[in-house]
């Protein structure tokens, strides 16, 4: 695993925008092809195997949480616990998730967290870095490859999902609508769903209607929302005024409610309890003072690094935010690889249950935020 400094494509902005990636320069610099990461095939095999292993162990953890009544540890509201359990017992279909890993190419990848509910940075991982590979790398290295079959697997999984509801059922896509990045990711999910044959429709989350007499959520045309793909976290849905209606409606939501079990940082100590000393896990606990050495404090429900605090022996690094009211977990501090002044983490995707590709994020801080730069990769 090496970092290479490269000259960006002369038309990289036009190339990004031609595939709907309009937020390439949000907060100054987001897409950064002035450098890239080069892996060996064996390193990619290691990442792929670790991702498959972590995906399987997370499903074990979901079963454990439901079977042993551990949802209180995750601060899942009591009114929601049976709904979440029923969703898990029914194995309501899931489309995707992204593991954030620390990996230096030598030691086994370590799980930092699992973005199981509303993972983003998908368009750039699936589409933008694929085009970069064709245009920037393959002319000089025709056999170069990339760990990125996201696009193919998304379409394939959408085809499998679509046969589980009746033909012509519209699939509604929603997010808050005021985040350019969320919109880009959601529009891409609509694109692949359309390619798989689905009829798709966007509705902003604020515009979702509730008709009590029909017992149904409806869109702007008063059409029942039967299948809803959301980039809006489950814990927000549950807390909103319409949240309780989800418990009584027929709506199918992607990601399903059982993903609340895995997108919660309480997953980390439960995984460590179930699989102590696992090579892809870091020690983690629900209580402070249980971790030897440097440690990281994470809210149960934070997003994009908010309110994460790293406690080194001689320094504390804290990210701001307004999360943490539900509780926190404590995790051993991973060694995040550093190249020059930049720390790099790897987002490793599962589509369905299969490993499907990676995206790299660089930041001057050890804490990866939504502003951390996306850097492409290839392997030989």
């Amino acid at each position: 695993m090496e970092r290479e400094m490269r000259t960006p494509r002369a038309d990289w902005i036009a190339q990004c925008e031609s595939v709907g990636f309009s937020y390439h320069s949000v907060d100054g610099a987001y897409w950064d092809e002035s450098r890239c990461y080069r892996f060996t095939a064996e390193e990619i095999d290691t990442l792929e195997a670790a991702t498959a292993e972590l995906s399987a162990r997370c499903l074990d953890a979901a079963e454990h949480i439901v079977a042993n009544g551990r949802m209180a540890d995750l601060a899942i509201p009591p009114a929601w616990r049976e709904h979440v359990a029923a969703s898990w017992r029914a194995r309501a279909p899931s489309l995707m998730g992204r593991f954030d890993l620390a990996f230096d190419g030598r030691a086994p990848p370590k799980l930092l967290e699992y973005n199981a509910d509303t993972p983003t940075a998908l368009l750039e991982a699936s589409v933008v870095q694929w085009h970069w590979l064709q245009q920037a790398i393959r002319p000089g290295e025709p056999r170069a490859d990339q760990f990125n079959s996201l696009h193919e697997k998304l379409i394939s999984n959408w085809r499998a999902l679509a046969v589980t509801w009746s033909a012509n059922t519209p699939v509604h896509f929603t997010c808050a609508g005021d985040s350019e990045e969320d919109c880009g990711n959601l529009d891409y999910l609509r694109d692949v769903a359309t390619q798989a044959g689905a009829t798709t429709k966007f509705i902003a989350i604020d515009d979702v209607g509730w008709n009590g007499e029909r017992g149904a959520f409806v869109d702007f045309d008063d059409v029942e929302i039967s299948v809803l793909v959301k980039l809006y976290p489950w814990e927000w849905l549950a807390a909103d005024a319409f949240g309780a209606h989800l418990l009584e409606s027929r709506i199918r939501v992607i990601e399903p409610a059982w993903k609340m079990l895995l997108s919660n940082k309480g997953l980390l100590p439960i995984l460590w309890e179930l699989f102590p000393e696992h090579e892809n896990l870091l020690p983690a606990a629900f209580l402070p003072g249980r971790i030897d050495g440097d440690w990281v404090e994470k809210p149960l429900l934070s997003r994009e690094g908010a309110n994460v605090t790293i406690h080194h022996r001689d320094a504390t690094i804290a990210a701001s935010g307004d999360y943490g009211a539900e509780g926190r977990v404590y995790q051993a501090c991973a060694r995040i690889p550093r190249f020059g002044d930049d720390y790099v983490t790897i987002g490793s995707w599962v589509i369905g249950d299969e490993p499907a590709g990676i995206g790299m994020r660089e930041d001057e801080s050890e804490i990866t935020r939504n502003t951390s730069r996306f850097v492409p990769h290839y392997f030989v």
Binding site: E17, S18, G20, E48, N115, T118, P119, T120, S126, V127, W130, L133, D145, Q146, N148, S149, H151, E152, F173, A176, G177, S179, D182, G184, N185, D187, R190, D191, T194, Q195, F202, I203, A204, I205, D207, V208, G209, W210, N211, G212, E213, V218, F220, D221, D222, Y232, P233, L237, A239, D240, A241, F242, G243, S263, R303, E304, D322, G357, N370, F379
Partner: protein, 120 residues
């Protein structure tokens, strides 16, 4: 590099993104009519709306061991004249409707207003 299974997509094509073909994120369109009159029977609904296509049977309900269902007329907006000057609210004078039901909006999104993104 020895022969290996390819790990990147063979082709990446888009049908919506990058084109002006979709009403994308942030463009929900125009709100639909929000009211529907409710009837005890199909006949009552037809008495108001005349066209069978305008009357839809609602889901069956169990009450005190008895199974019953309601019928819904078409949707219409507050203050909007429809099918002969009907308006939202309580049953109109002369109407056979039991009442008027509404769709409410704005019950999701509140938690998101405090945050820049729902992604992770």
């Amino acid at each position: 590099m020895r022969n290996r299974t390819r790990k990147s997509s063979a082709r990446v094509t888009l049908v919506l993104l990058g084109a002006a073909a979709i009403a994308g994120c942030g463009d929900s369109g125009t709100p639909a009519p929000e009211h529907r009159d409710v009837y005890a029977s199909k006949e009552d609904c037809l008495a108001d709306w005349r066209d069978p296509k305008e009357c839809e049977e609602g889901p069956a309900q169990n009450s005190g061991g008895r199974r019953s269902s309601y019928w819904y007329g078409p949707s219409y907006s507050t203050g909007h004249s429809w099918g002969g000057g009907y308006h939202a609210g309580a049953p109109r004078p002369g109407s056979a409707a039991l009442g008027t039901h509404s769709t409410t909006r704005g019950g999701f999104g509140g938690s998101g207003h405090a945050h820049a993104s729902g992604g992770s």
